[in-house]
Amino acid sequence: MLRFIVRRVLQAVPTLFGLSILLFIWVRSLPGGPAYALLPENATAEQRDALRRAMGLDDPVIVQYGAFLGRLAQGDLGESLQTGRPVLTEFAMKFPATVELAVMAMLIAVAVGVPLGYVAARRRGGPLDALVVGGSLVGICTPVFFLAFVLKLLLAEQMGIFPSAFRQTPGIDATRITGLFVVDGIATREWDAAWDALMHLVLPGLALSSIPLAVIVRMTRAGVIEVLGEDYVRTAEAKGLHRRTVRGRHVLRNAMLPVVTAIGLLSGSLLAGAVLTESVFAFGGIGQFIYSATQTRDYPVLLGFILIIAAIYVAINLLVDISYSLLDPRVRVS
């Protein structure tokens, strides 16, 4: 087991290293450059050139990459050109927003998706099944930003149930500890603040959950159908075991294995894939920041953020593999 884990960790190192090289070359070959994005229209060519030189962008790429690696070894990812703050600080400021959003979306997806998938499988071929399967397909096929707009239009503007933007009502008196506003609110017993932050999470969470929800519905459904066909379930039912026992102990538990894997993998992509949702809801997470960094050619942010995300992604994959191999010894062999 330990050897398996060590091997997987060692495999991740070259992946990330290769990625850093690819990213570096990619980022530096973007046309334009911060010298152009950061200055007003009428800045002179001399001013732009001077800025490029000052930023060390005139050095050969290999020299720049060396400098980057040198700093990286000391845990320094450089500073954002947009904001002038260290990349790590920016990440630490923006990441909690994204985590909160991803967790919310995943909670919605699991809480709604697993029961729906189970019911659909039990009533396979019936109208309810068709509705659930059809609904999940529509969910996958709707562009997230459009869904977000419709949700905002209906639930925020027309009906006024949920707030339409931000992570918390501006000016609310709240203590910041972790940067996860809901957690902070609960930890400090500022129930107003926690509730407020939670309400702000609902609409973006719903929008972001559409794809994981659809995936979880279908995986649960497929898993349950498969397990229902297995001999041991038939045996259990034939034995006259109580239906609830069969459902809980045999069917769901066995059908959940692939779903758990999917949850892990989906979480990884949610952490970074919220670019659209975050910008529609002015949520201020990492996705939105990376996108604006591509617009302003904020090299350090692009490199740093994507590397960190990739590392998190790889780590989640690793955890999924490890937990999977714990649950299912057959995986370890191959």
Binding site: P31, G32, G33, Y36, A37, L39, P40, E41, A43, A45, D49, A50, L51, A54, M55, G56, D76, G78, E79, L81, T83, G84, R85, P86, T89, A92, M93, P96, K152, A156, G160, P163, S164, A165, F166, R167, Q168, P170, G171, I172, D173, A174, T175, R176, I177, T178, G179, T188, R189, E190, W191, D192, S279, V280, A282, G284, Q288, S292, Q295, R297
Partner: protein, 556 residues
Amino acid sequence: MFKRRNGRLIAPAAAAAALALVAAGCAQSDRDTGGDPNETQPLIFAGTGDPRSLDPALANDGETFRVTRQVMETLLVHESGGSEIQGGLAESWEQSEDGTEWTFHLREGVTFHDGEPLNAEAVCANFDRWFNFTGDYQSSNQTYYWQNVFGGFAENEDEDLPESIYESCTAEDELTPVITLTESSASFPGGFTLSSFGIMSPASIEAVADQEVGGEEGAPVLPEYSQQAGDIAGTGPYTYGEWDHDAQEVTLERNDDYWGEPASVKTVIIKTISEESARRQALEAGDVHGYDLVAPADVEPLKEAGFQVPQRDVFNVLYMAYNQEASEELEDPDVRKALAHAVDRQRIVDTILPEGGQVATQFIPDTVEGWSSDVATYDHDPDRAKELLEEAGQEDLTIDFCYPTEVTRPYMPAPKDIFDIIQADLKEAGVTVEADSKPWDEYIPHTDSGNCSLYLLGWTGDFNEAYNFLGTWFASYDSAWGFRDDEVFEAMEAVASEPDPEARVALYEDANETIMDYLPGLPISHSPPSIVFSPDVNPPNASPLTQERFQEASFK
């Protein structure tokens, strides 16, 4: 990494405050209405991006200045809601005949937020601080506006930096600082209104003196004091309350000892919503009380829904540049005129720009001094355009035309739509257009280095001085325009060498006429960027320079 602040429950705090009011037996009516909203409710305004720094000297963007302007005041200002230059911290000012000595008479009795008095020494301490910036502070990204109007620094560290035209600042008496320049410049007096030159208290200057722009070479980190409230003091109607980076909001608190009319609203919060439609939806859902840069298409629906859209006067220009080096056909004045006649600029104003937009007759708006009513005009006339092209032997002209994507500028709300209309107009005149588009950050270098024959660009004035518009374009050869015309260059030289601002006005008018006779490009329109407020707010005066003062706002 995360700031802690003393958390309190809102409800008990508010209850306690209300009790205290009742116990004191004051504010009878407040008991019924639940208190004066100006005192209890924050005014929330959405900007389009995070501010960069609380020290305006280290910024060059409107989002930062929107915040700093409320706190750090300048010697001169533009009048509220207009573009006239008037006294700010200085009640009046005068200049020497050769334009190198500027004497300011400061207001009496102004104190900084930290209690220090405003005097000539304080002003000079600020100017000397900027002049003596070293290291990364000399990067044009950090101190753009200082370099723009004063050139370089006391000791330039980059040989490409120009010699500074700032010589010294001396205190003639307690309230009379005198700023001496090495030569006159058309950037003054307008330059003294720039938000970057907001005056900071001498104690703050001392306190932050040892903080530098840090970080590695090529990756400057802004000093800590510019990233958190509380380290620097100005004289403005608001003080910095807090900058919550996590929530992307800056809180401003009223300065009750303000020298002028104090602000009505106690707390102003400036939030960031980068997405255009998200700003609108936040306003409609009641999450913010106002926002800037309203999409023109949203203005009418918002008005119908009861929101207030005060109209700003125009202070910008959108133009279609002709680059004569990119296409030699454009060297023929008839071709330039033909293209001008082909474009239906009125339709762009009528269908794309917000209310108050105007067709441009020249490269400056009429709110800037030096605007001429006698320039040559080029009306929409497709037949005339065809005729001129025929005479020039260019009936089958094919030309490339660039426009930017992923961007709206105050002078250019929908670049692609504007491009589409012009493209259709040119087609009607028999000109074939090859479309070329670039995202904004690539667009400027692309057009600057002469890759586009025709392209859309514009400028919003920093202050009321025509040179701020015309100077960068037409004073000498520029690869973005690709022409050399002595008449135009001489007309600009005549303005630049005139130290007297009043005398410059007539010279600007001449220059505008010369430019429009030559037609280096086609000025298209002046467009007022829209700002919106919710119905329960008395909005501040809408400023053509987008320099709204939140002290003028209040809740109804």
